[in-house]
Structure formats: C-alpha cells, structure tokens
C-alpha cells in the first residue's frame, strides 16, 4: 500500500533539470522481488499447496495399481497410469451389499437432483415474486420465519418429516427426497429471488398491471425472461448442494435409491475385505466430479451463489 503512494507521487511530474543527463520518464519500475512480496506470495503458495494436495493425491492414487500403492509413497506420481480403478469404481466396486459400483448411485443422484432443482427453484421464484410485488398481510412475517428457519438444525425436523412422508406414502422413494430438498432449499432461494426481483424497476410491474396482466401472466411473461442470471446462480447453488447432500439421501431415499454420496461412503467405509485405495479414490473423484465441473465452468457465478447465503435480506 505504502509503495503505490510513493510511486504515484514520484511518477508523472517531470521537473525540468539543468542536468544534461537523460532523466528516465514514466513511473519508477516496480521491483518484483521485494521482501514484502516474497512473504505474501510464499504464504499464498503454501496455502495453495494445502488446498491442492488432496486433489493431487486423489488423482495419482486413483491411477496407481494396488502393489504400487503398497510401496507407500503418497507423493509419487503413478509409474504406469492405469484406468482400471476407475472402471472398477464405476461398474463393480462393492458397497457391502451389492457390487455394481457407483453408477446406480450416479443415476439416483441425477434422478434426485434434476427434479429437486426444478421444483425448488420454481417455488422459490414464485415466492420471491409474490413477496416483492404482491405483498399480502403477513407475507413479511412468513418470510422472516422462513429465513430464521434455515438455521434450525435439520436433525430437529428430521423425525417429524419422516412421519409426514410416511403418511403421504412416499417415504423411502425419490419423491420424499425431492420434497425434503424443496423444503430446505426454500429459505436461501427465496431470499435470492426476493432480492433480485426487488432490484428490478417497479415501473415494469406497474405498467403490466395497468395493462391488465394478472399474477401469473406478469410472472411468466415479464419477470421470468428478465431473471435468467439469477436462475443460473440458483441452479448452480441447488445442483451442487443437492448433489453433495448425504443426510437426506440416507434417511429418505430408501436403499435402492441411495444417492452417489451415500454409495460412495458405503463403498469406502463398509466394504468387506482388504481396502482398495485406488478404487476408493477413483470413486471419490467420480462423486466430486459433477460439482467440480460446475465450479470450474461457472467461475464467478458460483461465488455469487454461495455469497447469496451471506447477503442479508
């Protein structure tokens, strides 16, 4: 900080000098390797090593063979990389009960994530729109409770929800998981959409109202087309969140519908026999792949999505 100050004061002014020497023009070149810079970069690089090390270990371990792993060098890159562990993790790794690998779990996760994302986002978008443009008596109270409700530990509501879904006859099915994800995604998504719609010019809404458009027509023809960016943020938030969920999957989905995270944990933690670390790591990467791809593709939007949780309503 102090550097920039001295530089800018010494910078652009060119005093005419009686010297015949040629004065260097422009700002003084900034030396790159100041002690301060070295300290900053070494701390940051050290931090990055900590963050990257597990990714490196996951990748290298998954490409090794078991004999190579037993030599016991976690740092070493694979001598002859092989995709066998990946194939096994996907098709034939055992979860303690069955030996079908992760792929049923993957498809279960897809079957859970896609409808849950759509339903929860649709409900939240309508909520946000109603809360901003169609306030009714008590709407703010409901919203406040909704936001504070998001801090209640899930464990508190878990058993009653099991009973409710059992009464509805959907316990142990994909529907139960979808319902639960829609419920618990509602606070943050509603907040997201409410803030977004509140920032749109209200004249748009009023003009449509004057023209005689009703609740749904304004929503579908004016609000939705304008809210594409926030939809993308919401989709990122929901897909990663639901994909990474463990608790709801294990409680509500039923054994045949276990999502990928649950199956992964079963493969690694409750498999019989000697552990195959290369298969475990391949399975772990496979499970993390979907959110990782979303993260690397979406970049700043992901940050916006998670920061939405921190934005005050």
């Amino acid at each position: 900080m102090s550097q920039t100050a001295t530089i800018s004061s010494a910078g652009p002014d060119e005093k005419p000098k009686s010297d015949s020497r040629v004065e260097p023009r422009g700002p003084r070149p900034k030396p790159f390797f100041t002690p301060r810079k070295i300290v900053i970069y070494s701390i940051l690089i050290f931090a990055c090593l900590y963050f990257l090390f597990p990714l490196y270990v996951m990748l290298t371990t998954s490409l090794k063979t078991m004999p190579e792993i037993r030599w016991g060098n976690i740092f070493a890159p694979p001598i002859e990389p092989t995709g066998e562990a990946w194939v096994k993790a996907w098709t034939s790794a055992c979860t303690g009960l069955t030996c079908q690998g992760l792929n049923p779990g993957f498809w279960n996760s897809v079957k859970i994530t896609v409808p849950s994302t759509i339903v929860s986002i649709f409900i939240a978008a309508v909520n946000g729109y109603a809360l901003v443009n169609w306030r009714f008596k008590g709407s703010e109270i409901f919203f406040t409770i909704l936001i504070f409700g998001s801090f209640i530990p899930y464990q508190v509501m878990l058993y009653p929800l099991v009973m409710i879904t059992r009464e509805l006859g959907i316990f142990g099915s994909l529907w139960a998981v979808i319902l639960v994800h829609s419920i618990f995604g509602m606070p943050i998504l509603t907040l997201l959409f409410r803030n977004y719609f509140a920032a749109l010019p209200v004249e748009l809404f009023k003009a449509a109202r004057v023209d005689g458009a009703g609740f749904w027509r304004i929503f579908f023809e004016i609000m939705l087309p304008m809210s594409l960016p926030i939809f993308v943020v919401a989709i990122i938030l929901q897909v990663t969140g639901i994909w990474n969920d463990f608790l709801f999957g294990v409680v509500f989905a039923g054994t045949q519908n276990y999502p990928m995270t649950v199956q992964l944990n079963n493969i690694v933690n409750s498999a019989q026999g000697s552990p195959e670390y290369n298969v475990n790591m391949a399975a772990t990467i496979l499970t993390g792949l979907v959110p990782l791809i979303i993260y690397f593709v979406s970049g700043r939007l992901f940050v916006r999505g998670i920061a939405a949780g921190a934005v005050k309503g």
Binding site: F51, F143, L158
Partner: protein
Amino acid sequence: MADLAVQQARKGGAAGGLSRFLHNTFIRNLSAKIAAAPMMATVLVVFIGCTIWTIWYSLTDSRLLPNGEFVGFEQYQRLFSTSRWNVSVVNLLIYGAFSLVFTLGIGFLLAVLMDQKIRFESAFRTIMLYPFALSFIVTGLVWQWIMNPSLGLQGTIRNMGWESFTFDWLTNPRMVLFALLIAGLWQGVGFVMILMLAGLRGIDDEIWKAARVDGIPTWRTYMSIVLPMMRGVFVTAVVLVGSGIVRLYDLVVALTDGGPGISSEVPAKYVYNYMFGAGNIAQGLAASTMMLLTVMIIIIPWAYLEFGGRGRRT
C-alpha cells in the same frame, strides 16, 4: 374497488368489519396467496410444526414409535448422564472453538494477502475455493486416505527415512478432533476468505489514504480501522460457520465414523443413531432439541444486533 369495500364496511359497522377482515385475509390478492402456499405450508408445518412436535415428544418416553407417555425432563437427565453424549458435546465445543478461530483467522489473513494487488488473484481464488464445491463425504474420504497411518503421509515420510515421524491423528483419540479440523478447514476456509475479501473491497479507499497521510503503519490500519469496520462481515461469518459447526455430521461419518472408540462423536451423529439406529426416538429428539438450543444461543443475539433496532437498518 378496495375503497368501495372500505366504505361499505364503515356503513355496515361490526358485521362489515368482519366481512372486510375475511375479505382481506382470504380473497384480496388471492393468486399471490395461492402461489405462496408452499412457503406458508413450509413455515407452518415444517419450521414451526415439526420443531414444536420434536420439543414436545422429547418430553415423552417414546422408543420405537412416537407414542410414549409424558415424562417431563427425564430424557434430558438421561442424555446428560450418558457418557457418549457428554463426549459429543465436549468434542463439539473443542472442535467448534478451534474451527471458528482458525476459519476466521486464516480466512481473514488470506483475504488480506489477496487484497495486496497481487498477480494471479483469480487463480489463487479458484484454488482456495474449489474444496467448498465438494461434499463433506468426499472431503472426509480424501483426508482419511491421506492420514492413513501405514500408507498415507505418515507411512510415506517414514519410508523416506524419517523413522520416528508421527502423524497418526485418525487413530489417536487425543488428536482425532484435529484431524477433523484439518479436513474441515480445507473445505471451508476458502468460503470465509471470499466473504472477507468482499468485505475488504467494500472499504472506502479514502480511509486508506487518510491512514497513510497520518503515517499509520499498514498492520495498524488493519487492526484498528479495517477490523472494526468489518464487524458486520465477521458477525455474518461467525453465524454461518457456527451454525455449520453445530450441524457437523457428514464429515465425521466419512472421516472417522466417531472413532477411535467414541472419541470423535458429535451431537448430530448421536441424534441420528438414536432415532434410526438404536430405536430410542425420544432420546434422539431430546438430543436434537439441545442442538436447537445451541443454535438459538448463537442466532438470537445476532438477530437482536442485526434486526433489533428497526430504524437503523433501512
């Protein structure tokens, strides 16, 4: 139309008042109310209804089914005389304290470093935040492998010749919480760093200039001016990280499964095991009510500070 209704209501007196009340409650803005029905149902049934249900049934002696007799606070007495619960609570306190301090401390430090007009900022940012996209299960399993005593980090360094090197935190009851901490920090620090960085960027440049003119050293400016100005960001971070800590479950299941023995048990896991494993519902409900109480102790002061003074916020 509304005016007309009001006029009619004034004429009609008490009966009109009632019809106006009914009209306002149910008919006016009807489609908005229908559209918001899922939200109202969620709030009333899940957030309020289920919570009250849980608190109520935690006062019974229900075992396999929630149909027990009212027994007052007996479940809570049993809870606090169960060593597994007490270990869970102490674990959560230790883990929580360290996690909060380190997440906020490291998050802030990294944010300050990132704010020094460095090169490759977005690369650093991407690297620090990617673990946050991964699930706790993935996080737990990777670190379980890294901390594997014979083939992980410890085995590798011993094989390299440093025979006495010890990093057996997963099998050492006294250190296992710190194994959880390493994995938890790995997953969560990037997020707090992003929050703090946004907070730092929100501070007016004029303040920096003023501090510089007064000859205040940079570290002093951070400690005495920037930190107090970032109070809001810190409070938000404490609330988010804190309520995450209370929920801590997946990471423990994946990394240690409560072991060795019961030395890394946490309350959320206790709740789950009693509700779905041990068939002692009321005990699980009592434990979850204690979790709710903990969160409320964090949330209520925050809510009071943030929203207490109504006029201040808007």
